[in-house]
Symmetry: none
Subunit: 211 residues, 4 copies
DNA sequence: CATGAATGAGGTTTCATTCAT
DNA sequence: TATGAATGAAACCTCATTCAT
């Protein structure tokens, strides 16, 4: 008789929490590549198992369902390191909001470039999660906007920026980053990432800089 | 020996072109609602047929495969009326590029609001089409950017605007419109459509207006 | 309300017996070509209708079911003209049994050659008829053997032939004819029809001729 | 990316070659009975699965398609043991061609009797295979004729036999055997297998014996 | 813990037949 | 009488998940 346990709300048959974590990381890392390439619905568990060099049974030891893998993948994709916001705040102590914002956009957009496929994947497949998981993911995704808004608000405080709706402006900054991935099929034909970053930065600053 | 009839590249068993057109329109109109609500993969043909009040057999009388329905739906969603660009050009004869752009953004974004679900659907499900259909769809989608670019270029010609990369700027204008649908789960909490239109218009004009 | 009538045990909606006969003949003649080429199961009613230049509805006016067409086709194929046996008997009045048998084999085998595909078709598809129809067909097919046996028995009567089991011998004569069609994929590589007829005739005569 | 395993040209999801072989043998053995009794087209996969006491899924674990089962069945039916021809040749070392031929016919025809239904089935259903499989089957079937021809040629060498076209004669010998199955509906009424063998043997020998 | 064979419900699509026009 | 659009049951095949080994 199998004993059923849970970790992070997802069923597992193992009681060794560390092992579960290790194996799940392996699964996520490799499954990401497979799902991103072939599509979530288009990949069946047999092929997935073969592609990530595990047995179907093993996968189900560490994960409760196919959808859980999707959740774990997307969750990794939208979750930033925990010290991310702290580092932004630290930067704001020593440098102007404008400078921090420029750096932020550059590093955020560069990160999108590095995770081009996963970013697109997240936009397309999040809908396949159950309601609760979707909420978790969207909340995590919203944190990016909040982080960006911190910079904008600081700039407003010290009169560097003048912004009517800082959350909306932050949102624009974030999604214009995502667009580099989502619309790469078009953008790749009309500019380089470098140009893209420069133009979007200029677009934003032209509007918020307090002259 | 086996005779295959096609209309618009999609198999049909009827030779009555008008009837095919009528029935397909019905299928598209009703299937859009069902797919958008339940998801493409989550809706099976039996349920679809029941929902749109047709028999499964009848659907396959006018359409070759489930995927064809998806294609038809998305194609309708991304295809503008043929006189769309002409109307923009006509407007540019009598009014300033700035005014025309403002109107364009308002009407485009308002249209997104009216087709909120379908716009989101298009972003999520286009990947489920075969390679060739995807190309057709993306090409059609690119026309929106081109249309917007016409306005921008006119503004540049008469020195109303100053823009480094008009296609990229047009692209921003278009996708920021789409974002009202794609990220509605977030935007709806921070602003109204009215505000959204105003802010995005100001964002763009602040950057391109030639002072 | 449709009135249902029958002709030759097969449902029809028409009361005009002659018309039914005419139309059925058309259907049989053309459907034979289609079924023989594409196979009975592989041809659906829509394609059949298109191929024989009739509407599906029309076919069902004159025929009760798809299987009925198969029956009619095979029935034509296995049914000889009614004067066939009479002509054999007449021949036997004036010529030796040996001569008549030679002629019989030549004309029978030549006829197989002319209906190569239909003969094969009959062997392969009779099983798809219902029990009762199969019986009718097999009985009709048995008549060929009986006809041949008449010749053999006449030869035995006048001591031209010496045969232990004339029905079995007649059966060999008939099926060796059919084999020219059934195993044409092999026989065509090793001899001509002319050779085939000569060899089989010699084979039979070597055994039955009373020296 | 999608890995497809094959054994004998037929898809399987198992990599355990022995297991595939075992299970396929089970499937063939039991499916033969079902198909032969009910017909290939008349048996659907659900019924087949129930009849052979396997799940539909399991069948498809070892076989790629319904047609593959048909192929495997017919292939077994037409394939003789590999030492068959060697045994014939060995016999020809010690015994006269006439004796070997008599034995050959007896054992071949007896074998047909033992596989009555399958022999008929093969004649009727081979056409349902794809072109390539048909070729394989027909080539295998042709080997029987070749084997028989070996005996005939030996008899010609040592002047026991005199034959114009040994391949054609061998073909007659083989197909007259098959006819015991194909036309059993008729033959069963006019003679026993014993008589049939005797008569056909006499028929052949009367023609080829060099007196 | 690891494996992969087994399951069977459910997916998409076809097609013989009917019937309103 | 002639048509072909409409029907829906049933076909083949897939695949997430389980569980004996």
């Amino acid at each position: 008789m199998r004993r059923i346990r849970k970790k992070d709300g997802i069923r597992t048959y193992s009681s060794d929490t560390d092992l579960v974590e290790t194996r799940r990381k392996e699964i996520i890392a490799r499954a990401t590549r497979v799902f991103v390439k072939q599509g979530y619905h288009e990949t069946n568990m047999r092929d997935l198992a073969a592609s990530i060099d595990m047995s179907v049974g093993s996968i189900y030891h560490y994960v409760g369902a196919k959808q859980d893998i999707l959740y774990l993948i997307i969750n990794v994709a939208v979750t930033r390191q925990s010290d991310w916001i702290d580092r932004i705040k630290a930067n704001l102590e020593t440098r102007s909001a404008t400078e921090v914002l420029k750096d932020f956009m550059r590093s955020y957009y560069t990160n999108v470039e590095e995770e081009l496929d996963v970013t697109l994947f997240t936009y397309q497949e999040t809908k396949n999660l159950d309601r609760k998981s979707q909420k978790t993911i969207l909340d995590a995704a919203a944190l990016d906007v909040e982080a960006c808004a911190i910079i904008l608000r600081r700039g407003m405080e010290n009169s560097e920026f003048k912004i009517a709706n800082p959350l909306l402006m932050a949102h624009d900054i974030i999604v214009l980053g995502h667009m580099w991935a989502i619309r790469h099929w078009y953008l790749a034909n009309i500019c380089t990432l470098e140009e893209y970053i420069r133009e979007q930065t200029d677009l934003i600053l032209a509007r918020i800089s307090n002259k």
